[in-house]
């Protein structure tokens, strides 16, 4: 039982090696997952929007209204005030996308795309662009740069505080990516290792392999439930932190 090969097969990204007319098209397992989830989301949400307009499918339009008002009242308005109303579609998309990609990883044959640092880095870059862009839009370039230093600090302290604040903003965006990536990766790794324990013990002695099946499966069930909770939680925390950072750039500065 090759442990490293099993883990790398189930968790890491794999190129499918598609070659089309001399060009290597980089189709990997994670990108296929993102593509499927995006297509399903696009079709589903277009149908929901059309149902909402024509008052046809009642249930889906009520669900979507509830979801949008949850994002607006819980995440965007308390943290960003009235200036945040224009950015509501981005937050709705972000939350739903991360949630669906996380949940797609729990389906047996599909991999979690957010357990890839490239995917979470791209999402964090989008959020970082939103934060910096909203600061530039509401305060201009000089106002944005002046906003890093709180008003009323003595002049000699400014060359110390300014780089510190800039680095802190950059690190906040990076940690956003790493938090999501590490949570998803570690969850799936624990899930696989719990199953591998059965095989490793089974190689040494078949009797104990069968005996160790019961506690391992109980732990596995518990970890799966925890994984589902973590999927929701991490999507919520990513969206909430983006809103908090954008709000702090708009208001204090």
């Amino acid at each position: 039982m090759d442990v490293a090969e099993t883990i790398s097969h189930h968790i890491l990204d794999h190129d499918w090696g598609v070659v089309l007319g001399g060009f290597r098209i980089p189709i990997t397992t994670h990108s296929v997952t993102i593509f499927c989830v995006s297509v399903i989301l696009l079709l589903g949400l277009t149908w929901a929007a059309r149902a909402h307009k024509s008052r046809g499918g009642k249930l889906i339009s009520v669900l979507m209204e509830e979801y949008v008002s949850f994002i607006r009242g819980g995440i965007v308005l308390p943290n960003m005030g009235n200036e945040g109303r224009g950015m509501l579609p981005y937050f709705c998309t972000l939350f739903l996308f991360i949630l669906c990609v996380n949940l797609a990883g729990m389906i047996p044959e599909m991999k979690t795309a957010t357990s890839n640092i490239s995917v979470t880095a791209a999402l964090a870059l989008c959020s970082g662009a939103l934060i910096v862009g909203s600061g530039l839009k509401y305060h201009g370039l000089t106002g944005f740069l002046k906003g890093f230093v709180p008003s009323g600090t003595p002049g000699w302290l400014v060359p110390l505080i300014f780089p510190l604040e800039v680095i802190s903003l950059v690190i906040k965006v990076c940690v956003l990516a790493i938090r999501l990536f590490a949570n998803m990766l570690s969850g799936h790794m624990v899930l696989i290792c719990l199953l591998l324990i059965i095989f490793i013990i089974g190689e040494m002695s078949k009797f104990f392999g069968v005996v160790s099946m019961f506690p391992a499966m109980l732990l596995e069930i518990f970890m799966t439930c925890l994984e589902l909770l973590v999927a929701f939680l991490q999507a919520y925390v990513f969206t909430l932190l983006t809103a908090i950072f954008a709000g702090s750039v708009i208001h204090t500065h």
Partner: protein, 76 residues
């Protein structure tokens, strides 16, 4: 002791310390939230939301340390 073995020992001790720190922090967060909810039962919903947010932030920091431990184990 060979240098290769030291790498694995360091990764193991590091991971243990990270989990220790996370356990301490989460315990304090939970205790503060429960005490606040006991003093003012009507604020329990607000406290629960804040507690979960801070727990996720702390877990993010702990995961950062864990990723560094994994990196020390895998790198040459």
């Amino acid at each position: 002791m060979e240098l290769v073995a030291l790498k694995y020992i360091a990764a193991g001790i590091g991971a243990g310390l990270v989990v220790l720190g996370a356990g301490f922090g989460l315990g304090k967060i939970g205790a503060a939230a429960l005490e606040g909810a006991a003093r003012q039962p009507e604020a329990a919903g607000d406290l629960r939301t804040t507690m979960i947010i801070i727990a996720a932030l702390l877990e993010g920091a702990a995961m950062l340390g864990l990723v560094i431990c994994l990196l020390t184990m895998v790198m040459k």
